[in-house]
Structure formats: C-alpha cells, structure tokens
C-alpha cells in the first residue's frame, strides 16, 4: 500500500482567542476523495489552506507527499496542487483561456497552447489520453473536459454565468496536471441540476485522471455521493471519518446522526 498523500498530524490553529482547529488529524490515501462537511465556520477552509501552506499551523504538522509543508518551498508545492477557492476567484482581467493557462504559464511550461476558438470549432471530440501525453495540452481540451464550449475561450469572467465560472475555476485548477486537488465548495453557486451534472463530471474526471481530492461542502448529500470517505467536522474537530455506509449506519454522535438523518 502507498504512503498517504496528505497527512494532518494533531494540528491546532487559533485566531487570537478562538480555536479554529484543534487536535485535527487525518491521513489521505492516493486517489481518494475526502469530502469535508460541517457547519459554516467549523474550520473547513482553514484545514484546506493548511495543505498548500496558505495558513500555518500553530502546532502539529501537515505533510504532503511525505514532505513537511512548513519545510518545503511553498511556491513549488502550490504549483503541484490544484486549488479551487471558495468564491471561484477567476482573474477578471484575463480571458477564460488566459485564466486556464495561468499556472502552466507561471512555470513557462512548454507546449501549453492557447485555444484558437475558430480552429477548434470543427473538432469537439478530445481524447483524455491526449491531454496527458506531453508535450501539448490545449485550453480547448480542458474546456471540453469540464463541459464547456471551446468558443468560451475568448470571453472574460464577467461574461460568464455562475456555473460556467465554476467550471472554468476547475479547469484552471487541473491545467497544470496536479496530483492533488483542493476544492472549496466548488459547486456552490449553481442550481440543483447543474450541480448534479458537475458532480458526475467530477467523478468521471477522478476515475479517469486519478487525482487525490480534498473536497469541502456543507451539503451532506453531496459529501455522501462524492466521498471515498467522508469527514464530519464540528467546531474545528474531526468528529468522524468513514465511508458513506459507516457514516450512515454508525454515526459517531448525535450531530452526525442528525446530519445524515434526511438520507
């Protein structure tokens, strides 16, 4: 068995008096989708940002691929971790394709071609193998992977719908072919039907590309549907980690029972 990809070891984090995370431990195996659920303000985003070093723990350690986040070059680390932030955060001054090409452009990755919407129109079928066989990745391919028309490549974020923006955010996060994806409520701003479509697409992507994913949501049914394992949090503590069956059949406490009650 592989070593865990992400390890939280007894992490604590405070903001002044408030305890945001305490005794937070978790091991994430390669290829898992861990969904994190809990009330607003329970520390989900904070836990996610520990992984790419945007937040430093007060005590305890976080390891990614066996390396301590506190010790390694965070810039380098972040370029290998796809990040979909809560609220999307697309760059408003860049077109869709520039947004998507952002991370590869930071490292001047060769062969990353911008889509030419006019040239792409004829071919809507792309092989996923093509995406990962170097040297050429195209934004048009990424767009089609997240279910968007290549014609959108030249638009600005302000010209997209909320759901389209979220898809672009996901395309941007996977553009540099990271092994790890951090997704903070990536399907927040969309209707139920689009949401389900996006969930299915994520599962498809995951089975084809095999990322390890940390996925934050406050929707328990989304967490149960997507998670290889589900982590329930309350006030900065891990209450229970387990498969959907375990969570539903063996809830650790009343909070978890109430949470899955509707399912």
């Amino acid at each position: 068995m592989d070593k865990p990809v992400i390890v939280f070891e007894k992490v604590a984090k405070n903001y002044g008096e408030t305890e945001v995370l305490s005794d937070f431990s978790l091991e994430v195996n390669r290829g898992e989708i861990i969904t994190m659920v809990g009330r607003s303000g329970c520390g989900k985003t904070t836990a996610l940002k520990l992984v790419n070093g945007l937040i430093k723990p007060d005590s305890g350690d976080v390891y990614v691929e066996g390396r301590r986040v506190a010790d390694c070059d965070n810039t380098e680390l972040r370029r290998n971790i796809g990040y979909v932030i809560q609220g999307v955060g697309l760059f408003p001054h860049m077109t869709v394709e520039k947004n998507i090409a952002y991370v590869p452009s930071l490292t001047h990755k060769k062969g990353f071609a911008l889509a030419n919407p006019r040239a792409e129109r004829g071919r809507s079928q792309f092989s996923l193998k093509g995406l990962f066989s170097p040297p050429k990745i195209e934004t048009a391919q990424l767009l089609s992977i997240v279910g968007l028309e290549p014609d959108l490549a030249g638009r600005y974020p302000s010209e997209l719908s909320g759901g389209q923006r979220q898809r672009v955010g996901i395309a941007r996060a996977i553009a540099a072919q990271p092994d790890i994806l951090l997704m903070d409520e990536p399907f927040g701003a969309v209707d139920e039907i689009t949401r389900r479509a996006l969930q299915d697409e994520l599962l498809r992507l995951h089975s084809e590309l095999g990322f390890t994913i940390l996925f934050v949501t406050h929707d328990i049914s989304e967490a149960l549907k997507l998670g290889t394992r589900i982590m329930v949090m309350e006030s900065g503590r891990v209450i229970q980690v387990g498969t959907a069956d375990e969570i539903i059949n063996n809830p650790a406490n009343d909070f978890v029972r109430e949470l899955v009650g509707g399912n």
Binding site: N52, R79, G89, F91, H93, E159, R172, L182
Partner: protein, 215 residues
C-alpha cells in the same frame, strides 16, 4: 471682439516666440509628469504592501498637496534657486500625490479572493504584482495619470514666477506690460495643451475599458 483680434494678431506676429514657449512648456511639464509618474508608481507599489507606511506616506502627500502652489515655488527657491529646476521639482511634488494615491487605491481595492487564488496556485510575490495587481489597478492608475497631467500642465503656467520658461512667461509679461492679449494668448495655449493631453489619455482609458469589456 477687440481682444480676439488682438490675440490673433499676436499669434501671427509673434508665432515663433509662442511656439518656443509652447515647446518649453511641454518640455518642463513632461519632465515633471515623467518623474512623478515613475516615482509615484514606485511609491504606490511599495506602500501597498505595508499598511503602516501607507498611512504615513499618504499623510505627507496630502500635506504637500495643501500647500498653496505659489508658496511651494517660493519655499523651494532657497534650496534650488531660480529657474527650470525649481519649477520641475515643485510640479513633481504636486503631481506625485494623485499618482501615489491612485496606485495605492488601485492595488489595495482588489478583491482578496483574487490575490488568494493567485498565491494558492503558486505565484511568487513579484508575479502577483506584475500579472495580477498592476493590470487590475491599471484603470485607476490611468485615471490618476490623467488628472495629474492636466493639473501639471495648467500649474506649469505659474512656473515663470520662479524664473522658469514655458507659456507662463507670456502670461507674466502680458501682465507687467499691460498687454491682456498676450496674457490671454498664453493662457489659451495652456488650456488647449491640457485639453489635448486629457483627450489623448482619455483614448487610452477607453481602449482599456473596451479591452476589459467594461463599457
């Protein structure tokens, strides 16, 4: 009517003199605009990363801005003497304020989500500044540059009071020799220069807005 005729007359008879004054005026104000533009941009960028410093620097800029221009010109004479040098220094000091303020405001008003996304995806600080912050602040910086350019060109008219060249020379001489047409002729050219520059920079702004689809 008399005045208009007199002005046309003075332009035709002393055309080359006015042309040389105009060129001198452009040279003087362009130097100040360039200095203040570059310096203001640098200062604005530096203080955008340091909140404490920002309060102090913007405070100082505000104070400088409230000193009446004639007084500032006068205050500088003991240090830099009489002539173009003093004029350029005084004009630059005034022009600095809108540049610093707008650069600072442009950078610090960017949505923190955007910065966080850029940082989380592995951008270095210089990359964030060059690729995210400055392009997003560009609109406000351009507005600052435009205000400051118009202001500097018109304020350049006072420069002759400290012995500098430019169209202020015509204004000043017109006053001393009781020739209102000459004063007017000088003032009119300053106004024209300001309007033309304003419109040129306005074009840049429009082009930027069109590119960002903001119109």
């Amino acid at each position: 009517m008399e005045l208009i005729k007199a002005i046309i007359n003075i332009y035709t008879t002393r055309g080359s003199w006015f042309l040389s004054l105009l060129i001198e005026h452009i040279r003087l104000t362009a130097t100040a605009i360039l200095i203040a533009g570059v310096l203001g941009l640098i200062i604005g960028i530096l203080i955008s990363e340091r909140q404490k410093l920002a309060t102090i620097v913007i405070g100082i800029c505000n104070v400088c801005y409230t000193v009446p221009s004639i007084a500032l010109f006068g205050l500088l004479i003991p240090f830099s003497g009489i002539g173009n040098k003093t004029a350029v220094i005084a004009l630059s000091i005034y022009a600095l304020m809108p540049m610093v303020r707008n650069t600072y405001a442009g950078i610090t008003s960017i949505d923190t989500d955007i910065i966080e996304a850029a940082r989380g995806m592995g951008s270095t600080n210089p990359q964030i500044m060059v690729r995210i912050k400055l392009p997003l602040a560009y609109g406000l910086i351009l507005t600052g540059l435009r205000q400051m350019t118009v202001m500097t060109i018109s304020m350049g008219g006072i420069a002759s009071f400290v012995g500098a060249g430019g169209l202020g020379v015509a204004i000043y001489r017109g006053i001393t020799i009781f020739n209102p047409a000459m004063t007017f002729a000088g003032g009119l050219l300053i106004a024209l220069l300001a309007v033309v520059s304003d419109n040129l920079l306005g074009l840049l702004e429009k082009q930027y807005k069109r590119k960002r689809r903001m119109t």
